[in-house]
């Protein structure tokens, strides 16, 4: 094929891949909904966790601290930020201590007698009114007079203020210049996003908007805004991971290109190697878009990792090209073995499809589709764009010597069994926990930031993100009633220091029953009028000045009780909305807790309420979900391993040859586990996926080393190909192992270790016979090239079979 045509096809291919990639990027929605990726919840708590994850009141809070400027300026910045955030639709609520709660509470003004607890202990009789009016007179000379005066005629008992006090945070930082300040002199704010805490996209835009607002405030240039909280951590973690992945990606790309140039002395591989992999990825995404319409972020990350195997396909082709032979012929010769590898791996991944978990099914579709397309591209497109070889890789200096060395390594046949036995013993008996269930151990957030979060959380009295008090009842009204009954018990727990603070849904909205009780205690207009007249005797209030009060009380007597739906329309509605949720047939109240010192103290509460109230440990629930998820993955991987064994055995026509392929793979995987266990690294899902990728690569090494070509040159080319593949994998994943991001480090370390072990063992455990056969002949790079070869040993110049 002429050069022009090759370039044209290459360009067309590239354009097509880019086009599909672009089209898919437009249509495929990357979701971060954890529900896609975990097995169906079994317990009610797991279900609650999945329904509410990140939507909970605590996880939507961003804690803000402004520092680095004089106190007065910090207070101004705090007020400025409070003001802009209050008008930003991304935020449901913002507080800096300076908010005029009386103003917020004024929305609930008609309901004040139903919402405030005053009527639980007092009646609006002459004695109570007299005491109240006397206090109001004194208030009129106080500095607060101008604040109280507007309310006086309608609300002489100041229910609005009492309501505002109830709605105000219970534990507040100290007020300086009217806004919250920490002991370290930072101005503190709390902002509640409308977006769920673990919706990284929405949190990122909320944070960006927040930072933009701050930067536009006058005098903010010198001050420093610190953000903390789950949403921020999510944004930070993904940003940090992306930055690090990009940086390492750049390093390894340069290294990879240099390595290709060195290995092949040609620029062609550099221009072509990535195409099958990219085609596979584009096809995988297109399939996801067609079948599911969306893909989970974890699917994409895991899928890309697993698809890394496809990088080997073109490299094999480049190493096996021979002078004077069309590339298409070399590919044809390699194809049976490559196809065996691809089909085996794809069959194995079918196990994921059968797992019943949407995320794993997506993973299977992506990986199988991607590998098949990458394989097909290698088989039929690579020959169209790659020119005939100008040199034979078998002639690479030092390669024959390396092969000789490897062939002469001692290989006692009992050694693998002993190593396997010792390995199993180490894996089983090594101290330290086997699995990493704590997701936070994988967070790339620096410890200092986590400590700062704890400090700000304590200073602001912000709720704990780990614990929630769960109240269950058949109706919303039932939850509110339960919440009212639990409140006094919770106060006892606070007194006993089992918990520092709490917030229950009934704090915002009393049950309808309570509201009706209070309503029933409101006097009728005639009684109120005469009580008022009695109370005003001798006081300087003008006659008739409290007419609006009398009218309001009368209106309150006839009001239907405030419902959750109605309350949720008020400015504070978002708080209740996140604390009172429908789940299945019933309703759930979520009480937030701060500073849970003794989780066991809640057991009595659970017992008293017959289980209607209990402490939900989000960490424990998440861990139980992760365990369930891992269980599924392990089952899927186990089935995948069995399928792989069957496929390889079938392809190699017998267990004896299959053992030469599967033996090194198994042992290498075991050895990686040994290293991780000895190093005291608990295994996470990322390790499992990395082990799977390494095993996929190891399958290639073992399959190619097992191949009996009987042609020493072909064996040298196999060694060349494998060395390039191993070097590239070590380069990519070895660099990743240096990452400061735990997830990237886990993947890098596991794959790099795996590749090293798989390679070593594939060489050492390859069938001894054909290595020996090779040693008897002298490598001769001038020998005629062009011997066909394949896994079925149909090569015309094949050495006699010497099965040991």
């Amino acid at each position: 094929m002429i050069r022009g045509a090759r370039v044209a096809i290459w360009f067309l291919w590239l354009t097509l891949v880019a086009g599909i990639g672009w089209g898919v990027a437009l249509h495929l929605k990357i979701s971060s909904d954890l529900r896609d990726f975990v097995p169906p919840a079994r317990t009610a708590d797991q279900k609650l966790l999945l329904d509410e994850i990140g939507k909970g009141p605590g996880s939507r809070l961003l804690l803000l601290a402004i520092s680095g400027a004089p106190q007065a300026q910090l207070a101004d910045l705090s007020r400025g930020l409070d003001d802009v955030l209050a008008h930003d639709p991304a935020f449901a609520h913002v507080a800096n201590g300076g908010n005029d709660l009386a103003e917020i509470a004024s929305d609930l003004l008609p309901y004040r007698y139903l919402l405030s607890p005053t009527l639980d202990t007092h009646r609006l009789d002459a004695a109570y009114l007299r005491e109240q009016l006397q206090q109001r007179i004194e208030d009129l000379s106080s500095p607060a007079a101008s604040m109280l005066e507007p309310w006086l005629k309608r609300d002489p008992t100041l229910e609005t203020l009492k309501l505002a006090q109830i709605l105000a945070p219970q534990r507040q930082p100290k007020l300086v210049d009217g806004v919250w300040f920490s002991d370290r002199g930072e101005a503190l704010l709390v902002a509640e996003t409308r977006a769920a805490g673990f919706d990284p996209g929405a949190q990122a835009s909320a944070v960006a908007s927040l930072q933009k607002h701050f930067a536009s405030l006058p005098g903010s240039a010198k001050a420093k805004l610190v953000i903390s909280g789950p949403g921020w951590f999510g944004v930070q973690a993904s940003r940090h991971t992306r930055t690090e992945a990009d940086r390492f990606g750049a390093i390894t790309t340069v290294g990879f290109i240099l390595m290709l140039l060195l290995a092949y002395r040609s620029t062609v591989p550099v221009l072509v190697t990535a195409l099958p992999l990219l085609s596979g990825a584009a096809a995988g995404f297109a399939l996801l878009a067609l079948i599911f319409g969306h893909a989970h972020g974890i699917t994409v990350a895991f899928g890309f990792t697993l698809l890394g195997v496809a990088q080997e396909y073109p490299l094999r082709v480049f190493s096996h090209r021979r002078i004077g032979v069309e590339t298409s012929r070399c590919v044809r010769e390699l194809w049976p073995l490559l196809a065996t590898a691809i089909v085996s791996v794809c069959i194995a991944y079918l196990a994921f499809f059968a797992s019943g978990v949407a995320g794993l099914q997506q993973l299977a579709v992506f990986t199988i589709g991607g590998l098949v397309v990458a394989g097909l591209c290698t088989r039929w497109l690579i020959p169209l764009v790659v020119p005939p070889a100008k040199r034979d890789m078998a002639a690479t200096p030092g390669l024959a010597e390396a092969w000789h060395l490897l062939a002469h390594l001692p290989r006692p046949r009992w050694l693998p069994w002993l190593v396997a036995l010792a390995g199993v013993a180490v894996v089983v008996f090594a101290p330290g926990k086997f699995w990493q269930n704590d997701l936070s151990a994988l967070t790339p957030i620096p410890k200092a930031e986590l400590q700062r979060d704890a400090r700000l959380r304590a200073a602001l009295g912000a709720p704990d993100v780990r614990y929630l008090l769960v109240l269950r009842a058949p109706t919303a009204e039932g939850v509110l009633g339960l919440s009212e009954r639990v409140a006094p018990r919770m106060r006892q727990l606070v007194d006993r220091r089992a918990v520092d603070g709490f917030e229950l849904p009934s704090r915002y909205l009393p049950s309808a029953a309570t509201q009706r009780d209070r309503q029933a205690r409101l006097p009728d207009p005639a009684d109120l009028q005469s009580a008022l007249q009695q109370a005003m005797q001798g006081l300087p209030f003008r006659a008739g000045v409290f007419a609006p009060f009398v009218a309001d009380v009368e209106a309150a007597r006839k009001l239907p009780p405030l419902t959750p739906a109605k309350f949720e329309q008020s400015p504070l509605g978002a708080r209740l909305e996140s604390m009172l949720v429908a789940q299945g047939d019933g309703w759930v109240g979520l009480g937030t807790l701060s500073g849970v010192n003794d989780p066991t103290a809640f057991a009595a509460l659970t017992k008293e309420s017959n289980g209607a109230v209990h402490l939900l440990d989000l960490k424990a629930s998440t861990e139980s979900l992760i365990i369930a998820y891992r269980h599924r993955i392990l089952i899927a991987l186990g089935i995948a391993a069995l399928l792989l064994c069957a496929a390889v055995t079938l392809a190699l026509r017998g267990p004896r040859r299959a053992l030469h392929v599967l033996g090194p793979m198994t042992l290498a995987t075991l050895l990686v586990l040994v290293v991780l266990r000895v190093a005291g690294i608990p295994l996470s899902l990322f390790h499992l996926v990395s082990l799977t990728l390494a095993a996929g690569l190891g399958l290639h090494y073992a399959l190619f080393f097992e191949r009996r070509t009987g042609d020493e040159l072909e064996d040298l080319r196999t060694l060349h190909a494998t060395l390039v593949c191993v070097a590239s994998a070590l380069l990519v994943f070895g660099v990743l192992a240096l990452s400061s991001v735990p997830v990237l480090r886990a993947i890098g370390l596991t794959v790099a270790l795996g590749v090293a072990f798989h390679f070593t063992l594939s060489v050492l455990m390859a069938p001894a016979a054909h290595l020996e056969a090779l040693n008897e002949s002298v490598p001769d790079s001038s020998a005629h090239a062009g011997s066909g070869s394949g896994p079925d040993s149909t090569s015309p110049n094949q050495a006699p079979k010497q099965n040991a």
Binding site: I137, L140, A144, A145, M147
Partner: protein, 223 residues
């Protein structure tokens, strides 16, 4: 160093009025066309804390049919720290510190009000500091100042410039003799008013339990 007599007995009064008076005096002094008056007033203002004065506050409120009278003592402790003790007819202590007004009546609960929520008090405190620290321009940010009369008998009028203060305060008028303010008259935006007697005027006390606003105002202006 000459500390004017009025300052030692410093007659000031309920936060707003008191602080306003100082601020007003100072600013007016600066703004006035008579440089001699301004200079001498300013010189008279300079004082090292603590400064203490008795006060009588008479409030005229729309919801009441007769004025409210409270009296007690006012102290400036330096910087943004002030205290006002009401002794009669009930006991109340109010303090400004760290931008927060803390009020405790009798042995009752302590009430905290952000100074930011009481813009007039806030501005007046700023003015007070500006006066004693010599930074009058800070005052002129919030108020328009006008001075009339002579050093022996002067009236300074403070009109709010900023919306947050305008919403609550219509004007502040301070009457004084020589270096000594006598009365601070605050007109609220809603039509209520109050007159605070400070210094010698406060010591003289009221001549009636419920003085008419016009009568008291006349007394402030006349000997």
């Amino acid at each position: 160093m000459h500390n004017p007599r009025w300052m030692q007995r410093c007659s000031m009064h309920a936060f707003r009025s008191a602080l306003a008076a100082f601020a007003l005096t100072a600013t007016a002094a600066v703004a006035t066309a008579a440089p001699g008056l301004a200079e001498s007033l300013l010189a008279g203002m300079a004082k090292a804390p603590p400064v203490s004065t008795p006060f009588v506050l008479v409030s005229y409120r729309g919801v009441l049919d007769r004025p409210l009278v409270v009296s007690g003592n006012l102290r400036w402790l330096g910087g943004d720290n002030m205290e006002r003790d009401i002794a009669k007819p009930f006991r109340e202590t109010a303090k400004i510190a760290d931008g927060t007004i803390t009020v405790q009546r009798g042995n009752g609960e302590v009430q905290r009000i952000p100074l930011a929520r009481a813009p007039q008090t806030n501005a007046m405190l700023a003015g007070f500091r500006a006066l004693l620290g010599g930074d009058v321009s800070a005052l002129q940010k919030d108020f328009t100042l006008a001075a009339q009369g002579s050093e022996a008998r002067w009236v300074i009028t403070l009109t709010p410039r900023t919306d947050s203060i305008k919403r609550q305060v219509a004007s502040l008028v301070i009457d004084g003799r020589n270096h000594e303010p006598r009365c601070l008259t605050m007109m609220d935006a809603n039509g209520d008013s109050s007159i605070t007697l400070v210094g010698a005027m406060a010591e003289q006390g009221l001549r009636s339990a419920a003085p008419l606003e016009s009568a008291l105002a006349a007394r402030c202006r006349n000997p």
